[in-house]
């Protein structure tokens, strides 16, 4: 739909040779609470428009908000998992602005008193010198509420003649959000895009592990704004940053940061200044375009929310929540790395593909760790990437993959057939066993048809047959290949080879 063309950009290698990038990442996570932040309306995704609304979230006069206890608890748990300090006392604030996505004309948020502050998250990125840990410092994590959804009609697109207006659905307005803001992240150099992606990936894993959100980027329950600035050297003051919004996948985080670096370098090279502004990422064209400039129109006139009393989490409560935190993702990764006997790099591939839970589940169901990793970080990750969805949202489960692997282990499927079964499961043809049955994908284990196919293949290539008889066992591959082709891949290649050599009375070297 978008037709945005790229502005002038500088070659990436040239950018990192001459500039020092600084990142800043803001992640909004929608909590998985049953009800909204300040009222008892449900938070289910996909309900009919304006059916999960009430006087509070519609901002009707006289309505009084009340804070969701689970949302506060989740906010504290997120803060603790990020090694943050938890405020002893904090307030909500009104962020005033006029935009129809909030019917109150303000968003209830936190301003200078976030519930959690000063933490960090360590992420691992592959560098030329091997795996390197980057510590991302967390500035704050604060509570706020989501906005309604506006859809714009007519206007520039001209689809509706003369129409120029927006339609608003407030079902999402008031759903609890936690905004997690990093401090400026320096010293990532040419790895800035990868560090940004690794951070969002690690944060997503952490949030998923806490069970506080379904962290679905494509449904907007995890959203990332990427701030990027350039300076000449790491000792210079920070350059002017842009804030890129609409970055809705892990891959986009990396691409958007990379694009902004190349665009800003071109701006600076031309002698101009980078404009401090909001930019929009366009997934289809891979560019960002200018949104609104930050200006005094963004004077939000924050003031303490008079309708909500302060929050003062007792130290006992905080310690109780800390003690009940699930295993830290870094600790868990170290544990699984040892259990599976894999390298840092292999573990990072699993984590960065967002496949840790899936691989662990698949292994728990009896699969070999290598096979489980191969499926989830290889074929399936590639398909998810192509379709622009998260791995766990592919219509295939750990149970399916474990079943396919079990069939491979039992000799009922070979690699090629296993791939077809996976394809069938993804296409909605049912469980692996159903796909095997409906597509007729069992390995031909009866030697009769195999021997017939071997004879045909030998007859078709007498010269090859002669070579093999003469002791050139390596030439057997051509015959095995022909048999596999003739049986449409449904033979066990090792079995075919054994039968072939037996037939020709030749032994392996």
């Amino acid at each position: 739909m978008s037709t945005h063309v790229a502005e002038t950009v500088v070659d990436y290698d040239d950018v990192v040779a001459r500039f020092d990038p600084v990142l800043g990442l803001e992640v909004h996570v929608e909590l998985g609470t049953v009800t909204k932040m300040f009222c008892g309306c449900p938070t289910e995704f996909g309900a009919a428009p304006n059916t999960q609304v009430c006087p509070v979230c519609l901002g009707l006069p006289g309505a009084l908000p009340a804070v969701n206890a689970v949302a506060v608890e989740s906010a504290i748990r997120i803060g603790l998992a990020l090694h943050c300090s938890i405020a002893e006392w904090c307030r909500f604030a009104r962020k005033n602005y006029f935009y129809p996505d909030m019917p109150k004309n303000f968003q209830t948020s936190q301003y200078d008193e976030p519930i959690a502050f000063d933490g960090y998250l360590d992420v691992e990125v592959e560098t030329d010198e091997g795996m390197r840990t980057f510590r991302i410092e967390i500035e704050r994590a604060h509570m706020e509420e989501d906005t309604g959804k506006t859809s714009h009609q007519g206007g520039a697109t001209g689809r509706i003649h003369g129409a120029d207006y927006s339609l608003v659905d407030y079902n999402r307005a008031g759903i609890p959000l936690i905004e997690i803001v990093t401090k400026p992240v320096p010293d990532t150099g040419k790895y800035a895009p990868e560090v940004a992606r690794a951070y969002v990936t690690a944060l997503r894993e952490l949030l998923r592990g806490l069970g506080v959100s379904d962290v679905k980027m494509e449904q907007g329950s995890l959203r990332c704004d990427a701030n990027v600035s350039l300076r000449l050297t790491s000792s210079d003051p920070l350059g002017t940053r842009t804030e890129t919004k609409n970055v809705n996948s892990l891959r986009s985080v990396e691409r958007a940061v990379r694009y902004e670096m190349t665009r800003q370098a071109a701006v600076l090279d031309s002698g101009a200044r980078v404009v401090q502004e909001t930019r929009h990422w366009h997934e289809d064209t891979g560019v960002t375009t200018s949104g609104r400039e930050k200006s005094d129109a963004e004077d939000y006139r924050y003031f303490p929310e008079p309708d909500l009393v302060p929050i003062a989490p007792s130290r006992e409560w905080v310690e109780e929540l800390r003690a009940a935190l699930p295993e830290n993702p870094a600790v868990r990764q170290t544990r699984l790395k040892g259990a599976w006997g894999i390298s840092d790099f292999e573990m990072a591939s699993v984590v960065n593909a967002g496949a840790l839970d899936l691989v662990e589940d698949t292994v728990a169901l009896g699969s070999d760790q290598g096979a489980a990793r191969k499926w989830w970080t290889g074929e399936l990750a590639r398909i998810a990437n192509e379709q622009g969805v998260e791995l766990q949202d592919l219509p295939i489960t750990a149970t399916d993959v474990a079943r396919v692997e079990a069939l491979v282990g039992a000799g009922a499927l070979n690699d090629k057939l296993a791939r077809q079964v996976i394809e069938g499961v993804l296409a909605g043809e049912g469980t692996p066993d159903e796909v095997v049955a409906s597509r007729g994908l069992a390995v031909v284990s009866d030697d009769g048809p195999l021997l017939a196919a071997i004879d045909d293949a030998l007859a078709a290539a007498p010269d090859v047959a002669e070579k093999i008889r003469g002791g050139k066992v390596a030439a057997a591959g051509a015959i095995v290949g022909a048999v596999m082709k003739a049986t449409r891949g449904q033979a066990d290649a090792a079995r075919v080879r054994a039968l072939l050599l037996e037939r020709l009375d030749v032994t392996e070297d």
């Binding site: 609470t33 049953v34 009800t35 009222c39 008892g40 309306c41 449900p42 009919a48 428009p49 304006n50 059916t51 999960q52 609304v53 009430c54 006087p55 519609l58 009707l60 009340a66 804070v67 969701n68 206890a69 689970v70 949302a71 506060v72 006392w89 307030r91 005033n96 006029f98 935009y99 129809p100 019917p103 506006t150 859809s151 714009h152 009609q153 206007g155 120029d164 207006y165 927006s166 339609l167 608003v168 659905d169 407030y170 929009h280 949104g291 609104r292 005094d296 129109a297 004077d299 006139r301 003031f303 303490p304 008079p306 909500l308 009393v309 302060p310 929050i311 003062a312 989490p313």
Partner: protein, 101 residues
Amino acid sequence: MADTPSITRDDVAHLARLARIDLPPESLDHYAEQLGVILGAVAQVSEVATADVPPTSHPLPLVNVFREDVVRPSLTNSEALSGAPSVESERFRVPRILDEE
């Protein structure tokens, strides 16, 4: 008397813009003066607020008033939209806002 915050003509213009109030330029001085008087009245509070009285936003000594995460009935779509000046496709219809995508 403590310092009375002053309010300038430019402050009034800025606030009016933020509040989407269309004030004629010739009225700015008039409102600056009126708002100055109001601020001066409020500033009298600081005369009695000594250093040991912290600023406060909430008159009641209450914290941690929470609600259980339990669903309460929402309005129906038609109830929700009943006060809307304009409605389309079960949504609130509003004028287009500048700088939208």
